[in-house]
Structures are given as structure tokens and as C-alpha cells.
């Protein structure tokens, strides 16, 4: 589904990614862990086409297509979803309006007619239940005045609405208390099928107690320095990132 080969990327001329290789298959959950500044969020940015990151070398193919040639909205419509580390507030734009526009764009790509207002609201209700999100959130402007936890839950809700094939969750666990963390993780687990894949980017092992990864990768200094099964996360938690640093050096 996703194949990253020897990827190098810079931000403002500074090299952040220094040769990443990664393969993700449908149905898999990958966790990418690493200390601050290792390039985790940069990798997510490359995948969704943020223009502040410049790819200098390497290739990324998604479902057989050169992903790097697609615009950010084309990537979304092709099924890639990013759960933002810092979701953006858009004052004045209601969640309903925002999601309706997004969902109908996705439907258009699939050759489907736009949903009627009634059907759309019904869909919203169903998905809200699925991810256990408070109704009040969807009656407000996009992320405006939401608490940190509410914003993260809102990301999962949007994921439920758009049914992506590849979800990238960028530090979705940061700033969440344990209850919110469970809700977010349950949402992700319920949306999991054999056809879609998830990349969970996280600093801590904590989230991986609830979202069980098939593969764990450790990113350090712009490179994946270690890959393994879910037990790698536990080892990392126990020994700390110093262990990895030592092992490499």
C-alpha cells in the first residue's frame, strides 16, 4: 500500500530525514517512535504534502502511484488521513459545514452524489457514537475553543467520517488524560479493517497499550534505526531512548 524508499527531506535547508525506508501493507498498524527532533512529524508532513518540507531524494509510492506528485487534497481524496498533532482552529466555520464539504468531496471522487442534509446528519450521529464523541463538539466551529483532548477526539471523529485507507496519527496521545486516551484508542481500533492501515506516531509507549501495533520502528536522527514487533516498544519504554543512542553509536 505504502512504500517509502531512501527518503531524504529538508526544512529551511536543514536536512531532517536522512534515508527512510518503510513498507506498510493493508490491515497493518505501524508505530513510529523516537525522541523529540528525530523527524517523526516531518515524515508525516512529507506523506500529506506539507510544502514546508522539501523532499531532496528518494521516492514514495502509494497504491502504485507516485505520492509526491499529488497535491495535499488529492492525497486526502486518495485515502490518506492525518490526525494532526496540533489541530487547527477555523473560527466561523461550523464542524457540520466543514465535514459536509469534506465528505461530499470524497464522495465526488468515488463518483457518488452528495449526501442530503438528512443523510449527512444521520451519518454524523452514527460516527459520533462509534468514536464516543460528545454531540456538543460538532455544533461548534472547527476546533475553536476546544480543549487539547477535545481537539484530538475531533480528529478521530473526522477519521471516522472520511474512512481513510491510510491513517497517520501524529502524537495523537500527547496531552490526553487516560480516559481520553482510551476513547481515542477505541475509536482507532473500531475503525480498523483488513483493508486499511494505520501509522501511529508517538513519543511514549502508553498509547500502544491500547492500540496494538504489528510493527514498531524507532526513528532517530532522521533514520529508522531499529524495527521490530510490539515488544520493541516495551523494551524502549524500559530502557529509554539513551539505549538506542548508545546502541547506534
Amino acid at each position: 500500500m505504502l512504500s517509502i524508499k531512501n527518503l531524504f527531506a529538508t526544512i529551511d535547508g536543514k536536512e531532517i530525514l536522512k534515508g527512510i525506508d518503510l513498507k506498510v501493507q493493508p490491515g497493518e498498524v505501524h508505530a513510529i517512535m523516537g525522541p523529540n527532533g528525530s523527524g517523526k512529524s516531518t515524515l508525516a508532513s512529507v506523506l500529506v504534502g506539507r510544502d514546508l518540507v522539501k523532499v531532496t531524494k528518494g521516492e514514495v509510492t502509494y497504491k502504485g502511484v507516485d505520492l509526491l506528485k499529488l497535491s495535499p487534497e488529492e492525497r486526502s481524496l486518495a485515502g490518506i488521513f492525518l490526525g494532526f498533532q496540533y489541530p487547527i482552529e477555523i473560527p466561523g466555520v461550523s464542524m457540520v459545514n466543514f465535514m459536509k464539504t469534506a465528505v461530499n468531496e470524497h464522495r465526488k471522487t468515488k463518483g457518488l452524489d452528495p449526501l442530503s442534509a438528512g443523510d449527512f446528519l444521520k451519518m454524523m450521529r452514527e460516527r459520533k457514537n462509534l468514536v464516543e464523541i460528545d454531540s456538543a463538539l460538532t455544533n461548534r466551529s472547527v476546533n475553536e475553543g476546544f480543549s487539547g483532548g477535545e481537539k484530538k477526539k475531533n480528529e478521530i471523529f473526522q477519521m471516522a467520517m472520511l474512512e481513510p485507507e491510510l491513517s497517520i496519527l501524529d502524537e495523537t496521545d500527547s496531552g490526553l488524560d487516560i480516559d481520553a486516551l482510551k476513547i481515542v484508542a477505541n475509536g482507532v481500533n473500531r475503525l480498523k479493517t483488513s483493508k486499511n492501515a494505520t501509522i501511529v506516531i508517538t513519543h511514549y509507549q502508553r498509547l500502544l497499550d491500547y492500540i496494538i501495533p504489528d510493527k514498531v520502528h524507532v526513528l532517530y536522527n532522521g533514520k529508522i534505526v531499529k524495527s521490530g514487533g510490539k515488544e520493541l516498544a516495551l523494551e524502549l519504554e524500559e530502557k529509554g531512548y539513551e539505549w538506542i543512542k548508545k546502541e547506534i553509536n
Binding site: 514546508l52 495535499p72 487547527i88 482552529e89 473560527p91 466555520v93 461550523s94 459545514n97 469534506a102 468531496e105
Partner: protein
């Protein structure tokens, strides 16, 4: 990134003005230029009573002594007032008995603009007075309204049929000496709308005037007079468009509103005069004086405006709150793009006790345009417990445009409570990216954000027009990103 912005900003300029067509219709016009004879000719053509000719001549003589105001934050090219045609009218049978007698070309023009003159075709229940160049073409639903005692007709017709009302009210809110453009209008105005709502009557439909400039080299000078007697209510809407031309055309209008005790007047404008092309060539110069007086106690006047057109806009719809407990409101969305300039806002003059005013102004600037809010809140000596709330927001798209706010507050009564809030924001790239990541194109994202930003004002418009205004906003901003 820079390049992308440039590209997208360039695309803006291709946003087409879809009302830029010209109707080839026989027009009767007088020669260019302005002098007493021209004024006498206009007055004679319209068969006006002497008091009106006197009014015009007084205004003209006053105007000659005045100078064009220069205080606005606008760059106004020199206007040659002798190079303008002051009267142009589509040639047609002057007394229309039925719609069949309206020139089919004219009917087509208004159909194309989405303003059907055929009452059977009107679904929205809006009565329309259609004004092309200097004259009113047709007023719909006149008879139905007359049954309630409501007078809704062209200004010229009102001069003939209700000269006493015209004499009593015209120039009482905006005297001819008010300002340069008001004096000019008072001298040469050719038509407009008149509306009279008798005591206790709630006008059952929206009244609307649709202004269209068609002829070349012509100025449009219309005036609208609305009188709402005690306890009456009316909602009034004004729309306007013009053909796409390389030269600038002058539009200088006057609107006067009189609200007696407990009366309420809602006046909404969707202004879409031709704004000029992407290089700033052509477009309408829009110099308008709009003012209402809340004469009686507990009366209310609301101005709602969506300004998307014109090369230059100079316009400050205001309220004189004379009656005790009277209320004035001003809700505005002004959008400028390319080389458009707007200096617009309001004047709230509190004279009576417990008077209240609300001002919500939303400016949106894109391209290389300049958008200014200029507002006066004046609390006079006897205006005990007066209250004003003003909110002026500016939204910038791109980095070559400007937003400016010029609030003036004059208070001589210590009881007054005045609040002024102002914000300036830019549509953030991260907001656009967030939308992109959900599958929404940059165009649509801007549409969503801008409409969200202006929602508070759109909500004040009559429903059908709110939808139209939203679309208009999107067309005006097509392609612009910051």
C-alpha cells in the same frame, strides 16, 4: 511556496464579472456636460413641479462652490464632470399599462440578471422596481401593495402622483448641502424609488430596487426615499450591476429613510457594480450618501450591506437616533480584490435618550486592494443612557492588500456606554492546509472560511439574498489565497 501564492493570486484575476454584458437598446440621452440648462432640461423632461426645479438649481449652485472631499483613504482619479452624460433613458412608451409593453430587450436584460419583471414568474414574493440608467423601467406588485395603502413606485411617478409627500420629506435627512456628491445628486438626479408605508401597516413582501447602468459615458444619479409611518414595518433590498467598460462611470446616489414612532425599516444592499478589470482599468465610482432618521420613539433602522463591486466605494449609511429608545444598526461585509478601493462605514448620531446602536463591520481584502472602515459614533448632550457597540474585523488574503480602520467617537454625555472591538486576521496557510488535508480544495477552503467570517452579517439579509450574497463573495474572491 512564494510561487504558488503568486500563481493562485494570479488566478484571482480571472474571476469573471458575469454581469458585464451590454444591452443594445435605443437610448435617449442629452449631450454631455453640466450647467443650468441641463438641469432645466432634465426637470422639464420629467415634467416636474417648480419646487423640484428650485431644489435642483439651489443644489447645483451650492455644488459649484464645493470641492470634492479628499479625506477618504482613497486614490480618486480626477473626474471631469463636464464629460458625463447626466440623463439617459431606454426609449420606450413612457406609460406602460402592462408588461407586454416593456421592450423585450429590456425584459431580457433583467431576466439575465435574475430579476424577472413578470409577476407570474416571481417566486420569492419580492416586489421590484427596476431602474435602468436614468429611469425606472417597471415596478411590480404595485396594485397588490396599493390595497394596503403602501406606495411603491419610481421616484418620478411619486413626484407626479404624490408631490406633497416628496415636498414634505425629500432632503430632510440628506440636505442638498450635506456633501459634494449629495449636492451633485440633488441637482441632477433622474429617478429612483419611493416607498411609503402607512400607519400600522406591516409590508407583506420584500421591496426591492434593482439598479442597472447600461449606457456608456453616463452617470447614474438616483435617489430613494422611504417613509415608514407610525408602527409600520418594511424590509427593503437594493441590488445593482453594470456592463464591463474600460472607462470609469460615476454613480452618486442618495437614500433617505424616515421612521416614525415604533416603525422599523430594514434596508439591505447587495452592491455589485462592475469593479474594473484585474489591472484596475474601468469600474464604477460609487459615491453614495445613505442616511435614515429614527424620528419617533422606539423606532428602528437597520442597514445591512454586502459590498463586492465598484472600483471605488465611498459610502457611510448612517442613523440619526432622534426618538427616545430608538435603535440604529449597521451590518456590513465589504470585499475588495485586485485594485478595488473601499472606504465605507457608518455614522450613528445619538440624540434621544436610551438610544442604542450596533455596528458590525467585516472587511475582506485581497489582491492589491485597499479596504477601510470609517465610522462615527456621536453621543449628543441629551442622549442619556446611550449605548453603542462596534465591532470592526478585517480579514486579509495575500500580502499586497491593505485593511484600515478609522473609528471616530465623540461623546458629550457622561452616561454613554461605548464599546469598540477590532480584529485583523489573515487566512492562515495552516487553516487552508487543514482543509486540504480533509480533501477540500484551496478555493473551497477560502469560500468556507470567508463565508464563516461574514456569517453574522449574512444572517441579517433576507434569506434568498443571503444565498446570493454568499455566492457573490465566493466569485469575487475566486482564487485569492494568503
Amino acid at each position: 511556496m512564494e510561487k504558488d501564492q503568486e500563481k493562485i493570486l494570479n488566478e484571482v484575476t480571472q474571476g469573471d464579472y458575469k454581469y458585464g454584458f451590454y444591452t443594445d437598446i435605443e437610448t435617449e440621452a442629452i449631450p454631455k456636460g453640466l450647467n443650468e440648462d441641463v438641469i432645466r432640461t432634465i426637470s422639464k423632461k420629467k415634467n416636474e413641479p417648480d419646487f423640484l426645479l428650485d431644489f435642483r438649481l439651489k443644489a447645483y449652485n451650492h455644488w459649484k462652490k464645493m470641492r470634492m472631499p479628499e479625506w477618504a483613504h482613497l486614490k480618486i482619479p480626477k473626474i471631469d464632470y463636464q464629460d458625463i452624460i447626466y440623463y439617459a433613458a431606454p426609449k420606450q412608451n413612457p406609460k406602460l399599462k402592462s408588461l407586454d409593453e416593456v421592450d423585450p430587450e429590456l425584459k431580457k436584460t433583467f431576466d439575465k440578471l435574475g430579476i424577472p419583471l413578470d409577476e407570474q414568474k416571481i417566486l420569492t414574493g419580492v416586489a421590484v422596481d427596476a431602474v435602468m440608467d436614468s429611469v425606472s423601467v417597471k415596478t411590480t406588485f404595485k396594485e397588490a401593495l396599493a390595497e394596503l395603502g403602501i406606495i411603491f413606485c419610481s421616484f418620478s411617478e411619486a413626484v407626479q402622483k404624490h408631490p406633497d409627500l416628496i415636498k414634505k420629506y425629500m432632503g430632510t435627512v440628506v440636505p442638498y448641502s450635506d456633501n459634494y456628491f449629495a449636492a451633485l445628486n440633488s441637482a441632477v438626479f433622474s429617478d429612483g424609488s419611493f416607498c411609503y408605508i402607512p400607519k400600522g401597516i406591516r409590508c407583506p413582501m420584500e421591496l426591492s430596487t434593482y439598479f442597472r447602468i447600461n449606457a456608456a459615458n453616463t452617470g447614474q444619479f438616483e435617489r430613494t426615499l422611504i417613509v415608514a409611518e407610525e408602527g409600520s414595518y418594511v424590509s427593503y433590498l437594493e441590488g445593482c450591476t453594470a456592463p464591463q467598460r474600460d472607462e470609469n462611470q460615476l454613480h452618486a446616489a442618495i437614500v433617505e429613510i424616515i421612521a416614525e414612532a415604533n416603525a422599523e425599516v430594514k434596508y439591505s444592499t447587495v452592491q455589485n457594480w462592475y469593479p474594473g478589470d484585474k489591472d484596475g482599468k474601468g469600474g464604477i465610482f460609487n459615491f453614495v450618501t445613505k442616511r435614515g432618521i429614527c424620528k419617533g420613539d422606539y423606532s428602528k433602522i437597520s442597514w445591512t450591506q454586502v459590498e463586492t463591486g465598484s472600483a471605488i466605494t465611498w459610502k457611510y449609511p448612517g442613523c440619526i437616533l432622534k426618538g427616545n429608545n430608538s435603535v440604529g444598526e449597521f451590518y456590513s461585509v465589504a470585499v475588495t480584490n485586485n485594485f478595488q478601493q473601499a472606504d465605507t462605514g457608518t455614522k450613528m448620531i445619538h440624540i434621544g435618550r436610551n438610544t442604542k446602536s450596533t455596528v458590525v463591520s467585516k472587511g475582506i481584502s485581497a489582491g492589491r486592494s485597499n479596504n477601510s472602515y470609517r465610522g462615527l459614533v456621536k453621543i449628543m448632550k441629551n442622549a442619556k443612557n446611550a449605548r453603542n457597540f462596534s465591532q470592526c474585523d478585517s480579514l486579509l488574503l495575500g500580502d499586497k492588500c491593505g485593511a484600515h480602520t478609522f473609528p471616530y467617537i465623540e461623546v458629550v454625555n457622561p452616561d454613554a456606554i461605548i464599546e469598540h472591538e477590532a480584529t485583523t486576521s489573515k487566512i492562515g496557510e495552516d487553516q487552508i492546509f487543514y482543509c486540504n488535508q480533509r480533501g477540500i480544495s484551496t478555493e473551497d477552503a477560502i469560500g468556507l472560511i470567508v463565508n464563516g467570517y461574514a456569517k453574522e452579517v449574512f444572517n441579517k439579509l433576507p434569506m434568498e439574498f443571503a444565498v446570493e450574497a454568499q455566492k457573490l463573495l465566493q466569485i469575487t474572491l475566486e482564487g485569492s489565497v494568503g
